[in-house]
Amino acid sequence: MSYSSQAIAKPYFTVAITLFAVQVLFGLIIGMQYVAINIEGIMFDTARLIHTNLLIIWLLFGFMGASYYIVPEEAEQELYNPKLAIQSLWLFLALTIITVLGYLLLPYATFAKITGNQFFPTMGREYLEQPTIIKLGIFAVLCAFTYNISMTILHGRKTIINLLLLTGIAGSTIVFIFAFYNSSNLVVAKYYRWWLIHFWFEGTWELIMEAILAYIIFKVTGNREIVEKWLYIIVAVTLTTVILGIGHHYYWIGVPEYWQWIGTLFSVFELLPFFFMLLFVFNVVNCTKCHSSNKALKLWALSTPIMAFLGAGVLGFLHTLAPINYYSHGTQITSAHGHLAFYSTYVMIVLAIISYTMPILQNNINNRIVQKLEILAFWLMTVSMSFMVLFIAVAGIMQVYIQRATDLALPFIEIQNSMMILYWLRGAGGLVFFIGVIIYIIGFFYNRHLAVD
């Protein structure tokens, strides 16, 4: 660690990892509800709200922690305003806790009433279920984050990694404005909702992910020039494909049919950034000598592009071609793709940067027990997630076939029972994943406990 303000990453990562465990716990609760094991007082939609909302929130905590570590070092400059970074951590955490408690303890309609949704309706849309006032708070946190990062970079060295990270962060903050737009016309509301959701998950977050990956590869190989050259290609391909790639969300929501052609075409191209990331990591890591003795880090860093290529790239590509999406849209296949894509790109990159930074932040580089726990957790999580996705994808194919593709299509609810075996297997996968998270957490906090101050 070269700058003291980099230590701000530590509380951010701690919060991120804690929320990760809660998120997966609620995922497990949802998985159990699929096999009719219910917990009294927790409705499916409540558990799902917490599962999806916490996913976004803990990944944001992870990105913030990563940025507060990377940016000062790259800029060769202390963080512009460390106090603001700590304050926004507390604000963001408070907002998160209020939101989760609101979901858990109140009926959603009551939560909407008491937060004044009727005056400025933005709630009740997928991923944007938070009360309007909470959304304002999140926007404030994002603005403070962007301000802090841009001022640090402005006063310091401007590397490609830093500028890319800033582009991703500023872009995420700007498109968040669309969280506040909810037309009374459903089609228009859906159209602009994607300007936030698509550009976050497939655009600005992808830029942040690429910057973090590049930073790790640079740290492992020590070769900035090669990393930057690859980064240019990857980013250029990302930017050219992602913007019109939004078309693959527009097939069936009421907008003109030409979006099917545009969406399909650019979905094919959206595979390219992941392909180049794969080439990049394996070319660069193979052709230079690795400095790092951190085995867990190597595992995360090398498998992120492989898994991202499969989960976000190939699976996304298959599912977003209009003729296939006509059948697969809004089924378990969507869920399968969503799970693997989020895990392989964003979860893995955040865990990779934590794997790199925590030993440095803790002054006990590469503790052997922590390494072993982390590697075990990696395998448990990655393998169980892959199987979970396989099971849900098979369930989705069955669902499409029985409910949509035959002449004697059966109603949704009638066929769910015939997929029960797959839901059980998926639930088992979820349980193994949760065990993986617990082992990861034990390693993480054991590492914190070991800290030499």
């Binding site: 799902r48 309706p121 459903l186 907008v255």
Partner: protein, 143 residues
């Protein structure tokens, strides 16, 4: 620095070109959209119905035009599926009032205790939604 100038040029120009393309397509979409979403039919009741839909987090279990959760059936075409002008409204109202069914082994929908005004608004919203031109999606009437 020679290497940097050329990619930077590609970086910015591609960004601008594709943003302009997206804005152009959006303008065109917005112009032709009224024919497809039949917004002339939007009434205050339908708008209230959308609010009822959102404030009860219906997408927490259902999908609407394929977006939402996959735990309960697609509702974009529920009005038509349940009889359209011949009983669709009646069915949805009776269904919502009958929840939960308490049939063992079947997923349960909660009782939302909607007022008659809210129920009628929600039904009007679902009817309007079922009439959106969605390029003949879903593939089957079952959703």
């Amino acid at each position: 620095m020679k290497i940097l100038t050329k990619p930077k040029y590609i970086y910015y120009s591609s960004l601008i070109i594709f943003i302009c393309l997206l804005l152009g397509l959006t303008i065109h979409t917005i112009i032709v959209l009224p024919e497809r979403d039949h917004r002339d039919n939007l009434t205050p009741q339908i708008i209230q119905g959308k609010m009822v839909w959102e404030e009860n987090n219906c997408i927490g279990c259902h999908t609407l035009l394929g977006e939402g959760a996959y735990f309960a059936p697609e509702l974009g075409n529920i009005y038509k599926r349940r009889g359209g002008s011949h009983g669709g409204a009646y069915f949805i109202k009776a269904w919502l009032k009958a929840m939960p069914t308490n049939i063992p082994g079947r997923r349960q929908m909660p009782q939302f205790n909607l007022t008659d005004e809210e129920l009628h608004a929600l039904i009007a919203f679902l009817k309007w939604t079922s009439e959106i031109n969605t390029s003949s999606w879903p593939p089957s009437e079952k959703g």
